[in-house]
C-alpha cells in the first residue's frame, strides 16, 4: 500500500510522460507479481465494483471530523473529489500502512459483503493506520472511481520495458477479460499460452482528426474512403464457433446485442471483425440518439429490439482463420473481409462500403451529405497501411462534418472536478425566447485554461444566486457553441437537446442581446428533418 500510494503520488506530481513511466517501472521492479497485477488492473480501469456507497463515505467523514454533513458537501463541491475530501477532513497522522496492495484488495473484497456498520468500523480503523495521501488512495479504491493520469499507453510502455517486449504485444496481452484474482502475472504477461483466452480482442486502431485539406494526403488512389458511422465501435470475435462482441471501452457486450451475439457461428472460420455497432432499420442507419436506448440495457427486451435493431457495419478484419493479419495491408484485409461477409451472409453483418470517389472534391461533396445518412463524416484510410495499436498519426484519418453552431449566453456555472476542482468550469447556456433566456445546453470543453480562469473570475464576481455547487450569473458572456446533432426532447425546457455541445469561441465582441433565439435553433431541427 505504501509503495502503491507513493507511485500514485509520483505520477500525480509529474507532468512529463517519461517521469510517469519511470515511476511505474520502479514500482514493477520492487513489487510482487500479485501487486503488479493489481496495479495494472487498477490503473487501466479494470477495478472491482465499488465496495462502498459514496454516502457512507460522506457520513464517516462527517463523524470522524465532527462537522455536519452539509459542510462535508460544501467542501466536496470545492475539492471536486469525494475520496480526497474525506482524506482531507480526517485528522492527520504519521502512520504508514504495512499492508501490501494485494492484501488490501483482498480485504476490500470482503468489505463489499459487510453491512454499513461493519464496513464503517473497518474504514475508520483503516484510516487511523494510513497517512493522508494513503488515505486518499484508499478512499479512491473503496469508492471505485479510480482515475489518475496514467493512460493505458504509458502502462504498456512501462511493462514493455520491464519485460523487454514489443509494446504492441503487451497491449494485446492486456486486452479482454481477466482479473487479478484468477490469473497469474506470469501467465498473463510473461509467457501467455496462445489461444488460451478465446474471447481476447485486439487493441483498437484509432484515427486522428484531419485538420487540413485532404489533398495534403496526396494521391486519392492510395486511400480508401468510407463513411464514419455514428454508432459504437465494436469487435466481433468468432473462435471455435463461439461469438464474442467487445465495445471500444473494452466491455464484453455480447448479450446486449443479440442481433450479433446470437448469430450461429458454427460454420464460420476463426475471425475477428472490426466495425461499428449501428442502429439500423429498413436499410437505413438511425440517429445515434436512438441507439442510446440500447446502450444501457444489459438484456434488451423484444420491444426495444424491434424499435431499435442493430447491425454491425464491418470495416476491417484482424484475424482470418485463426491467424493475426493486422500486419497485412488494408487492401488485403479488405479482400478477405469481403469474402467473409459474403460467406457469413447475415442481414445483421453489413460491409461498410468503399465510397466511389475519384477526386478529393468529390469526397468533400459526399462529406457535406453525411448528416442525412446519420454519419459523422468520412474515414480516410491508407490502402497499404497495417492495423496499428491505439491512436496513431499518418494512415487513418477521420474527417468529420463541420459542426452546427449558435451563439448562446452563459447563465449558470458549476465547479468542476479533477483538474478543474475549485474552478467554475461547467457551464449552462441559454438562448432567447422573447425576452426570456431558456437553457439550451451544458458544455465544459473548448476553452483554454486561461479563458477558463477568466470566466471563473467573472462567475465569482457576478454571482446572482448560489445553489450548492451551482451559481446563477449575470447573463453577459456570449459563446459560440458547436454541436453535432439536434433532437426534440420532452425532458428539456427548451424542447430540444443538442448532441456533443462544446464551446467553439468566446464571443467577446457580442452582447447578450445579440445571442441567438430558440427559433434560430429550431431552424436546424427543421433543416435536419428535410434531408
Amino acid at each position: 500500500m505504501q509503495a502503491f500510494a507513493q507511485l500514485i503520488a509520483q505520477i500525480d506530481a509529474s507532468s512529463g510522460t517519461n517521469a510517469k513511466v519511470a515511476a511505474l517501472l520502479d514500482y514493477l521492479h520492487q513489487s510482487s507479481d500479485d501487486d503488479k497485477l493489481w496495479c495494472i488492473a487498477l490503473l487501466s480501469g479494470k477495478r472491482p465494483p465499488r465496495p462502498v456507497r459514496s454516502s457512507l463515505l460522506r457520513e464517516l467523514a462527517a463523524q470522524v471530523s465532527g462537522i455536519p454533513l452539509w459542510l462535508v458537501e460544501e467542501s466536496y463541491h470545492v475539492v471536486g473529489d469525494l475520496a480526497e475530501t474525506a482524506a482531507l477532513l480526517t485528522p492527520t497522522n504519521e502512520e504508514q500502512s504495512e499492508l501490501s496492495l494485494s492484501e488490501l484488495m483482498q480485504e476490500l473484497g470482503a468489505l463489499r459483503k459487510m453491512d454499513d456498520e461493519a464496513a464503517g468500523a473497518y474504514i475508520r480503523a483503516t484510516w487511523q493506520k494510513l497517512s493522508r495521501y494513503e488515505r486518499f488512495v484508499f478512499n479512491k479504491l473503496i469508492t471505485g472511481g479510480f482515475r489518475i493520469g496514467v493512460s493505458q499507453r504509458l502502462m504498456v510502455r512501462a511493462l514493455a520495458r520491464y519485460l523487454d517486449e514489443d509494446p504492441n504485444t503487451i497491449a494485446h496481452r492486456l486486452m479482454g477479460a481477466w482479473s487479478p484474482g484468477d490469473v497469474q502475472f506470469e501467465d498473463l504477461l510473461r509467457n501467455p499460452r496462445p489461444n488460451e483466452n478465446l474471447s481476447r480482442p485486439y487493441p483498437f486502431y484509432l484515427a486522428y482528426p484531419l485538420e487540413e485539406a485532404p489533398d495534403q494526403l496526396g494521391e486519392l488512389g492510395q486511400w480508401q474512403v468510407e463513411y464514419k458511422w455514428d454508432g459504437i465501435r465494436g469487435q466481433l470475435i468468432c473462435r471455435k464457433g463461439k461469438l464474442y462482441l467487445w465495445s471500444r471501452g473494452e466491455e464484453l457486450v455480447t448479450e446486449r446485442y443479440p442481433e450479433l451475439g446470437e448469430l450461429d457461428g458454427s460454420a464460420w472460420p476463426d475471425v475477428v471483425i472490426d466495425g461499428e455497432i449501428l442502429a439500423y432499420k429498413e436499410g437505413k442507419p438511425l440517429p445515434f440518439g436512438l441507439l442510446q436506448k440500447r446502450i444501457g440495457r444489459k438484456k434488451p427486451g423484444k420491444k426495444v429490439q424491434e424499435e431499435v435493431p442493430v447491425v454491425l457495419k464491418a470495416y476491417d478484419l484482424l484475424e482470418w482463420h485463426g491467424e493475426d493479419i493486422r500486419h497485412k495491408a488494408l487492401r488485403e484485409r479488405r479482400k478477405k473481409l469481403e469474402i467473409l461477409v459474403d460467406q457469413v451472409n447475415s442481414s445483421n453483418i453489413l460491409l461498410s462500403p468503399k465510397l466511389e470517389v475519384e477526386t478529393w472534391e468529390q469526397a468533400a461533396a459526399l462529406r457535406t451529405e453525411c448528416r442525412a445518412l446519420a454519419a459523422e463524416g468520412l474515414m480516410i484510410k491508407h490502402l497499404d497501411g497495417e492495423y496499428k495499436t491505439g491512436r496513431k498519426r499518418g494512415e487513418w484519418w477521420k474527417w468529420k462534418v463541420d459542426p452546427m453552431s449558435i451563439d448562446a449566453v452563459l447563465i449558470y456555472a458549476m465547479r468542476g472536478h479533477g483538474r478543474r476542482a475549485n474552478l467554475f468550469s461547467d457551464y449552462t447556456f441559454a438562448v432567447w425566447k422573447a425576452s426570456e433566456l431558456v437553457p439550451i445546453a451544458k458544455a465544459y470543453s473548448g476553452l483554454s485554461d486561461k479563458e477558463m480562469a477568466e470566466v471563473d473570475r467573472f462567475v465569482k464576481r457576478n454571482t446572482i444566486e448560489r445553489f450548492g455547487p451551482v451559481r446563477s450569473v449575470q447573463p453577459e458572456l456570449v459563446f459560440e457553441l458547436g454541436f453535432e446533432g439536434i433532437a426534440e426532447s420532452k425532458r428539456h425546457k427548451s424542447g430540444i437537446a443538442l448532441r456533443f455541445p462544446r464551446m467553439l469561441r468566446w464571443r467577446k465582441d457580442k452582447a447578450a442581446a445579440e445571442a441567438n433565439s430558440l427559433e434560430d435553433v429550431k431552424a436546424f431541427l427543421r433543416a435536419q428533418a428535410r434531408t
Binding site: D12, S15, S75, G80, L89, T92, G416, N422, L423, D449
Partner: protein, 341 residues
Amino acid sequence: MPLIHFTERGLYCPRADVYIDPWLPVSKTLITHAHADHARPRMGSYLSHHDSVAVMRQRLGDISAEGVRYGEKKKVNGVEITFLPAGHIPGSAQIRLASEGEVWVISGDYKLENDGLCEPFEPVKCSHFVTESTFALPVYQWDEAGNVMASIERWWQQNSAEGLCTVLQCYSLGKAQRLLHALSQEIGEIFVHGAIHNTNEALKTAGYKFPHAQYLDASVDGKRLRGAMVLAPPSAIGSSWLKKLKPCKVGAVSGWMSLRGTRRRKNFDRGFVLSDHADWKGLNTAVLSSGAEHVYVTHGYSHVFAKWLRSQGYQAQAIDTAFGGEDEDAEQDEPANPESN
C-alpha cells in the same frame, strides 16, 4: 447607528469618516496591510502600520500616508483607532475601532502561526468581528511550517544534485520574505526576481534584513543558477522570463496547493502547502478568542463560513467585498514590474 457600515466603496466608519481597505477612491483610509486587494491607489490619505507605509510608498508612488506602531492609540472624532498585529505579512494589522462602548475589529488577512518574520497575531476582544475566510473550509488544515520548509529544502537539494535550478513561485510581498527568512543558506545561493527585490528594498527601510537574497539582474552569470534557488512571483512564472532559468524545476508555495485538482491544473513540478492565511482551525480559534457576538465574514468562502458560525451560535453574516480570497490569484500583490528582467 452601528460604528461600521458596509458600503459599496468598502467598510466605512461614519463617526470618524474613514474607510477601511476601500476598493473605490475615497478621502481618508485605514489600511490593514499592503497587499493590492487591500491597499489600492488614488486614496486621499492612508493610515497604516509603519511597515505597510514603506511598502505602499514603493508600490503606489507618491501618496499621503501616515504610519503608526502596533498598539498606538489614535483618536478621530471620538473614535479610538488601534492597529494590532495580524501575523499575515510584515506590517499587517487588525484594526480596532472603539466608540461609546462599541468595539469593532477588522481583521484584514491573518494567520495564527508565528512565522518568525512578522509580529505574531494577537487576539483582540471585541463585540463585532470582521473576519476573512480565504480558507474557511474544514478541508484546509495546515501542516507545521517547519515541516514544509524542510520538504522544500529536501527538494532543493535533490534538484541541486541534478544540476538544476530550483524556482519557487511565491507572492512578492509576504511569502517571499517568509521563505527568505526560513530557508537554509547552506544549500546554495538564493536569487530573487525584481518584484521581490523591490519589496525587500522597501522593507529594509523599515528595518527588515534579507542578507542572503541576491537580486537576479541581467549581470548574473547563468552558471551560478545551477543548484541555486530563485524566488519569483506568479506573473514571472507565467512569462518568458522563466526561460532564462532553464534547466529548472518549478514549485509553488501556497495554501491552494493543498487541493490535488489545483496542483494538477497548475502543472508545477511540486506544490508546497504553506499559507499566510489562517486555516479552518485558525479561523475558528480567532473568532472564538475575539469574544465577539457579531461576526461579519468577507474575503473567501464567506457564505459557507457564516452559515457554520450561525450553527455554532454566533450572529454571523457574509459580506460581499472586492477583496481577493475566493480567487486563487487574487492576491496579485505586485503591479507587473516594468523593470523585471
